[in-house]
């Protein structure tokens, strides 16, 4: 047939033959449709898992909180206001909820003191309506909401001359009264509140005084300040109280300061003193702890530490585990057995022992954070290595690997170019799921006091929990916020990790639809 056909044209003139293509190479046509790559597919399936997406958003919020609050917040870890210890969380004003107040019931004496604080400065710890009732022994009881921010009241203090002068200058400039007249009873060591709060005429002036006041005929407090004929006693030249006009004879001026060795003894309003020293009003969104540290800011610092530690641990473990597992799984045989034994031995060492040994040996050279990091890295990669090893055992016998080897690919290329990308999904999921574990271990170790990450510039959630546990009975808010933070973080990371695991698992493709 062929020959016959050829025979029909015994001679084809050469000039009739033309080349049909010369200037372009013929290659495969590109597909018209868009292809969905592995990661695109993962993303599409991840998006469908609503809880994982929500968890991811939550993680991001907590991450942003931890990263940015330390920059924005005027308070940091070294911020300590001992007189403002255990302030309640305050977010709103006078709403009865999250406004720094708490319900309380007081006897006549306790009520007089608290009301007195407000009468003098206008910053009253007694807010809302006061309900009177009668106790079984016939005495009166007052129940009302108490503002914890005004409760510290006043304090008798000795100031250095410079500070005293600065305070007076501030008073004049901002018209805020910080220095108040010193009461007669300033040197009595009262059992209840600090002596600065007993400024009125008391029924009983002994240290055991309940604080009950003697009222004048109008039912008002009778001031019990030290007086002198010199209006500027103690070099005081600044604002005076409204009623302080020298008295009837013009010679009874209230004493605002007493010159003593090393400075001036004064009585300061702690709330206004706080404004003077810090430049802002005391408002702690999450309250304060025993040292008067702002829990909101500390939480951000603690979260920052947890995030930084966990993420760096996971990145390092990712690298070490991937390489170790790849070598184990790829070479197999004796290499595998020996390397497995090593990781076995490390893996069975209790983590707390490792953390302790690292701390004892390295803390002084590199600091607590890095010694903890090393401890995490020492054993953390084992799980990762085991996972990678499994994947390598699975893939190394596949035909495509064999083909690549036949083409002359070297071990390194086979490992990293051909097998490793296939196990990437499992490894990423493993890394993400390791993050909550690291955060938990870190908080546990610092809670137990085995690792002390508390310095002037950092704190950890575990330390905050430990501080909070000491006052769990009386001030549960101190522990509430760190516990809430870490719980949300753990739940979110687990949800996110699980969502990612399902998304990376190609066998589940289309299973949900």
């Amino acid at each position: 047939m062929q020959n016959e056909l050829n025979g029909q044209f015994p001679k084809i003139p050469k000039e009739k033959l033309t080349l049909i293509q010369r200037d372009r190479r013929i290659t495969d046509q590109k597909l018209e449709t868009k292809s969905i790559g592995y990661f695109k597919d993962v993303w599409l399936r991840f998006k469908k898992d609503k809880s994982a997406v929500v968890a991811f958003v939550l993680i991001m919020i907590l991450l942003l909180f931890s990263m940015f609050v330390p920059f924005i917040s005027p308070m940091d870890v070294s911020f300590r206001e001992e007189s403002f210890a255990y302030m309640l969380p305050k977010m709103f004003n006078n709403t009865g909820f999250w406004d720094g107040t708490f319900a309380t019931e007081q006897t006549q004496g306790g009520f007089d003191i608290l009301r007195g604080i407000g009468v003098e400065s206008g910053l009253s710890p007694v807010v809302g309506t006061v309900r009177e009732s009668e106790a079984s022994d016939g005495t009166k009881r007052y129940s009302f909401r108490q503002d914890s921010y005004c409760t510290p009241g006043y304090e008798i203090k000795v100031l250095g001359e410079k500070e005293y002068k600065a305070m007076m200058a501030y008073q004049d400039e901002h018209n805020i009264q910080i220095l108040y007249p010193v009461p007669v009873t300033w040197n009595v060591k009262f059992n209840g509140y600090s002596a600065g709060n007993y400024w009125y005429k008391l029924k009983d002036e002994r240290p055991t005084s309940s604080g009950e006041a003697v009222y004048d005929e109008n039912g008002n407090y009778i001031p019990n300040y030290l007086t002198s004929d010199n209006p500027n006693a103690g070099d005081y030249t600044s604002l005076r109280l409204p009623g302080d006009n020298g008295g009837e004879d013009g010679k009874t001026w209230y004493t605002y300061a007493m010159k003593v060795q090393g400075g001036y003894r004064v009585r300061i309003n702690l709330y206004n003193d706080f404004i003077f020293r810090n430049g802002f009003k005391p408002v702690f969104v999450f309250g304060t702890n025993v040292y008067g540290q702002d829990i909101f800011s500390c939480l951000a610092y603690g979260g920052q530490l947890s995030f930084i530690l966990a993420i760096s641990v996971c990145l390092i473990n990712f690298v070490i585990g991937a390489v170790y597992g790849a070598v184990e799984g790829y070479y197999g045989g004796t290499t595998d057995i020996v390397m497995e034994r090593i990781s076995d031995i490390l893996g069975y060492m209790p983590f707390i022992v490792i953390a302790t040994l690292f701390k004892l040996h390295l803390q002084e050279q590199v600091g607590p954070l890095f010694s903890l990091l090393f401890a995490f890295v020492l054993t953390g990669w084992i799980g990762m290595a085991a996972r990678v090893r499994m994947q390598f055992y699975r893939f190394k016998g596949h035909e495509y690997v064999l083909a690549a080897r036949t083409l002359g690919a070297r071990d390194r290329r086979l490992i990293f170019k051909h097998i490793f990308p296939n196990s990437l999904g499992t490894i990423i999921t493993g890394s993400i799921l390791a993050i909550p574990a690291v955060i938990f271990s870190e908080s546990m170790l610092s809670y137990l006091g085995i690792i002390d990450l508390n310095t002037s510039s950092m704190t950890s959630i575990g330390t905050m929990l430990s501080n909070g546990h000491d006052c769990l009975r009386t001030y549960p808010h101190v522990i509430l916020f760190p516990a809430l933070f870490i719980s949300i973080l753990e739940i979110s990371f687990n949800l996110f990790g699980n969502g990612l695991r399902d998304a990376f698992n190609p066998s589940l493709r289309g299973a949900e639809d």
Partner: protein, 319 residues
């Protein structure tokens, strides 16, 4: 099977030996903790240390350490913690607390975990399952100390049902109702995690087993659903669940450091934390041994129990 078990046990002791060696050397490389107490004669203390061989070369100390441990189970004397008392008896005296608290918690948790797990698996993808699965997710993620704080705050401080801390042995004998009641908060806090873990496990296993062909066959041959589940599905699911429970039982010896701290349980974990805080190295070594041993033993027991429970699994057999 026997060969495999023997091999695993020998390997366990080898691992234990290596870990102890590493710890021993790392500990001995550290300087001896300073004698801080004022009313103690420093020279006398140094003499005591010399007598106990703390100034000898590390290799000599290492030899003596194993000699004492292997011949007379002597782990040395407490130096900073429980000064001059033998380490091991002190630890064994603390052990019952740890064991008791954990034993109570898993005895309560196992039935609950199984029941919830089975129920969730039977109601798979219905609202009951969704509720249980969500709760399990929350309870396995939230750190155990958070429940402990909640339990302590609400049950002990607010409602005042229980003592906030576990009683000491002077206040009540170990095996008494009063002691049990004081342990309840700790037991509850530990239990949440175990229940959640077991529920998740049981649900996963059982729902996989339920889709098996033999379940269909069992129903086809006329068994009721209940019969099919109890005779076929549960048995097969148990193959995986039971080893986990067995491992859990060994784990009770170790207990939870943080729960012991929160509820002031005078258990073995608290001794560990204290020994780290005051740098008592003899206690540290003995506790390290104890915890490592528990970890290894529970691993082995879990593995071996697979072979005992399921005749289809031949441990360590060649292909």
């Amino acid at each position: 099977m026997t060969k495999y078990v023997v091999k695993r046990i020998l390997l366990m002791f080898l691992t234990l030996f290596v870990i102890m060696t590493i710890c021993f050397i790392l500990i001995k490389l550290l300087p001896l903790p300073l004698i801080k107490s004022i009313n103690k004669d420093v020279a006398l203390q140094a003499k005591k240390y010399e007598q106990r061989g703390y100034y000898k070369p590390i290799m000599v100390q290492y030899y003596n350490f194993w000699k004492n441990v292997l011949t007379s189970w002597d782990w040395g004397m407490g130096e900073q913690l429980y000064t001059d008392r033998a380490v091991w008896p002190v630890m064994m005296q603390k052990l019952p607390y740890t064991v008791l608290v954990n034993l109570y918690s898993i005895l309560i948790a196992i039935p609950l975990g199984l029941i919830f797990g089975i129920y969730a698996a039977l109601k798979k993808n219905k609202w009951q399952d969704n509720v249980i699965s969500t709760l399990v997710m929350v309870f396995t993620s939230v750190p155990s100390y958070v429940y402990a704080f909640l339990v302590q705050y609400f049950l002990c401080f607010k409602l005042k049902w229980f003592n906030p801390v576990v009683l000491s042995q002077d206040q009540a004998p170990l095996m008494s109702w009063k002691m049990f009641m004081s342990m309840v908060p700790a037991v509850l806090s530990l239990g949440f995690g175990v229940v959640a873990g077991l529920t998740r496990y049981t649900r996963a296993e059982l729902s996989e087993v339920l889709t098996g062909d033999y379940m269909l066959l069992a129903r086809t041959k006329g068994l009721t659903k209940r019969q099919a589940i109890s005779r076929h599905a549960m048995r097969n699911a148990m193959v995986v669940i039971l080893p986990m429970i067995i491992g859990e039982f060994i784990g009770i010896l170790g207990g939870s450091l943080i729960i012991e701290k929160i509820f002031a349980i005078p258990g073995i974990g608290n001794v560990f934390v204290d020994s780290i805080a005051v740098k008592d190295y003899n206690f540290f070594m003995a506790e390290t041994f104890f915890y490592t041993f528990i970890g290894l033993a529970s691993g082995i027991l879990t593995d071996i129990s697979y072979g005992f429970i399921d005749p289809r699994i031949r441990m360590g057999s060649k292909k």
